[in-house]
Amino acid sequence: MKGLSTKSLSLAYDGATIIRDLNLAIPGGQISALVGANGCGKSTLLRGLARLLKPRDGIVYLDGNSILNLSTKEIAQQLGILPQGPVAPEGLTVRDLVAQGRYPYQNWLQQWSIKDETIVQQALEITDLLKLADRALDTLSGGQRQRAWIAMALAQDTDILLLDEPTTFLDLAHQIEILDLLYDLNQIQGRTIVMVLHDLNQACRYADYLVAVKDGRIFAAGEPKLVMTKEMVQEVFGLECRIVLDPVVGTPMCIPIGRKTKINHQQIE
C-alpha cells in the first residue's frame, strides 16, 4: 500500500495518552488538513506520523512498511516534516539551510553531488528565494523565513511533506502566499501534503481531505464539503456557526455566530 497510514495508533506524552486507537489513511497525491480545537492532539498526530514521537501502541505505515522497521535515513528520503516554529542558528544563510535538506542523501564521502546542487537550486527557485539565498535567515521577514524552511524540506525531495501550522505568526497575505506555494507543489509536482491548520476556512479551501480531530480521535474525515458542517464545528470546536460557500472557490466557509447578532444595515450597504 502506497503512502502514509496508521493502524490503532496511540500516542502519549509523559504518560498522558493524547491520541487513542486511531486509524487514518492519508490520501496520496492530495492535500490533507488536520483541524481541531487547541490541545485536541492534531500536532501530536502529525509528530507521530513523522516518527518524531514513538507510538505507545499501534503502527504507522509508510508504503506498507511499519516505520519502526525503516531506518530514519530511509524515512527521511520519503517523508519530510517541518515542525512548528523552527529556529535557525544565528547567521545561517538561506542557501546553507536549504542545503541541509540534502542530509539524508549524503555521507562522509559524498557531501555535495551534482544532484544535491541541482535540487537545492530548484528548491530555491520554486520558493522564489534565489535573490535572498546568501542572506542570513535572521535578517528575513517571517514569510521569507518560512519559505526558506519549506525550501529545506523540498530539498529533501520527498513524496510526502508534513507541516505543523506552517502559517502561524504570519500576516494574512503571507499565509496565503505559503498556502499557494504548497498548493503549487501539490498540483505541479504531485506531492502529498499533510498540514495542521488553525484556520478552518483556509483548510477547506486548500485541502482535498479534511480531518477533524477531537480528544485524540478522528471525529470526521473526508472532502471538506462533507466534513464541514455546522454540527461538526459545534462538536469539535464548541462553536455555533453558519456554513456558507466561499464566494471565490465555492468551498465551505464557517461564519461564527457569537453574541453580536444585531444586523447593522448601514454597514452591509
Binding site: 509528530r47 516518527r51 535557525a88 542558528p89 541541509q100 559524498q110 555535495w112
Partner: protein
C-alpha cells in the same frame, strides 16, 4: 558563487570559499605568534635565529638550540594544542546546545576536569603524567552527564543551562579548594601552578601526553561536522532529516568532553577560549561546521599562544598565566553576549 566544490569519482565536497583562505591566514598568524613567543624571555632570541634553529641550521650559539627545544618550544606547542582543543570543544557544545554561550569553561565541564585532575595531583602524587588527561576526561564526562540530565532537555532555556553550569562549576571549584587546603604542601603547590591556567614550565612530556588526544578526537570532530550541522537545527528538524539524534549527539559530546578534558589536563582551566574562538570563526566563515571547526580550532591556537606571549610581556619580568589574559578579554565578551542574548 561563494563556494569551492570538489568532485571526483565517489567523492564530493563543498566548502565556503573563505575557508581555505582563512586557514592559510591563520596558519601564518600561528607561525608568527609562535616565533614571537619562542624569542621572548629572559634570554631573547631573534626571529632569524629561531627559524635557523628550528630548521636545524647552526646559529653560532649552542644555547639557542637548548633554550628553544627544551624550554620554549614545548611550552608554545602546549599552548597551541590546548587552544585548538578548547576551541573545538566550545564549537561542538555551542552547536549542540544551540546556545552561543555554551563554552566548556562556563558550563562547568572544565571545572569538572580540573577537580578530577587536582584530585590526582594531590591524592596520588606519584601517578604518571598520562593519567592526568584520563582523569580530567573522566571528571569532564561526569560533569557533562550531570549538566545533561539537569538542564539539557529540549526546549530548556539557554540561560538555564548557563546558570546550572555556573552552579555546578562553583561546586566543583569549592571541592577543588578543599582538596588544596588539606593536601600535602608540595603536591598542593604543584596543583596551584597548574590550576592557574598556565603553560608555565610545560615540557615535551606534556606535549606527548596531549598529542594522542588531538590525533584521535580532532579527525572525529571533523567527520562529525555534518551531523553537528543537522543537530544545530534542533532535535525535531535533525530527526526529520534522518539524523540518528541520540547517537550522533552522544558521539559529539564525547569528542567535546575529551578535547576539553585533555586541554584542561595540560594547562589547567584556560577560560573563555571555547567561547571566543567559535564566535570569531562564525564571523569569518559562517555557521557551517565543516568550515567552522578548523577555523575556530586555529583561532583558539592563535588566542592561547598570543595570551601566553602577552602574559609574559605585559609586566615582564613578572609572568601572568595565559588563563588570566584570556579571562580578562573573555569575561567582558561573555557579558556582552549575555546582554545581547537577553534582548532577543
Amino acid at each position: 558563487m561563494n563556494f569551492v566544490v570538489i568532485r571526483s569519482q565517489g567523492i564530493s565536497l563543498r566548502i565556503n570559499r573563505r575557508v581555505p583562505f582563512m586557514v592559510l591566514c591563520l596558519a601564518l598568524a600561528i607561525l608568527v605568534a609562535m616565533t614571537m613567543n619562542l624569542g621572548r624571555g629572559e634570554y631573547p632570541i631573534s626571529p632569524g635565529d629561531i627559524v635557523k634553529t628550528l630548521l636545524g641550521l647552526d646559529t653560532g650559539n649552542p644555547d639557542h638550540a637548548f633554550v628553544i627545544y627544551n624550554l620554549r618550544l614545548p611550552r608554545t606547542l602546549v599552548a597551541l594544542m590546548v587552544g585548538v582543543a578548547l576551541a573545538i570543544s566550545g564549537t561542538i557544545f555551542q552547536g549542540l546546545t544551540r546556545n552561543p554561550l555554551a563554552d566548556p569553561s562556563i558550563i562547568g565541564i572544565n571545572a569538572g576536569a580540573s577537580l578530577a585532575a587536582v584530585s590526582v595531583i594531590v591524592l596520588f602524587p606519584s601517578a604518571p603524567i598520562y593519567t592526568l588527561p584520563l582523569s580530567a576526561f573522566a571528571g569532564a564526562l561526569l560533569m557533562a552527564i550531570l549538566i545533561y540530565s539537569l538542564a539539557w532537555n529540549n526546549g530548556s532555556s539557554p540561560i538555564l543551562l548557563i546558570l546550572i553550569g555556573i552552579g555546578l562549576s562553583a561546586i566543583a571549584t569549592a571541592i577543588t579548594s578543599l582538596m588544596i587546603t588539606f593536601g600535602e604542601i608540595y603536591n598542593v603547590s604543584n596543583a596551584l601552578v597548574w590550576l592557574a591556567g598556565s603553560v608555565y614550565g610545560r615540557t615535551s612530556e606534556q606535549v606527548f601526553s596531549l598529542l594522542p588526544w588531538l590525533l584521535v578526537f580532532i579527525p572525529m570532530a571533523l567527520t562529525l561536522a555534518r551531523h553537528l550541522n543537522a543537530l544545530n537545527l534542533g532535535d525535531d528538524v535533525a530527526k526529520s532529516l534522518g539524523s540518528r539524534v541520540e547517537w550522533q549527539r552522544g558521539l559529539l559530546i564525547l569528542v567535546g568532553v575529551a578535547l576539553a578534558g585533555a586541554g584542561v589536563a595540560s594547562a589547567g582551566n584556560i577560560a573563555f577560549v571555547g567561547l571566543i574562538a567559535p564566535h570569531l570563526g562564525r564571523q569569518l566563515v559562517g555557521t557551517t561546521h565543516e568550515g567552522l571547526i578548523p577555523i575556530s580550532a586555529l583561532l583558539g591556537g592563535v588566542i592561547v599562544v598570543m595570551a601566553d606571549f602577552l602574559g609574559r610581556t605585559l609586566f615582564a619580568p613578572i609572568e601572568l598565566p595565559c588563563g588570566v589574559i584570556t579571562a580578562a578579554v573573555g569575561a567582558p565578551y561573555f557579558l556582552y553576549l549575555l546582554i545581547r542574548n537577553r534582548k532577543k
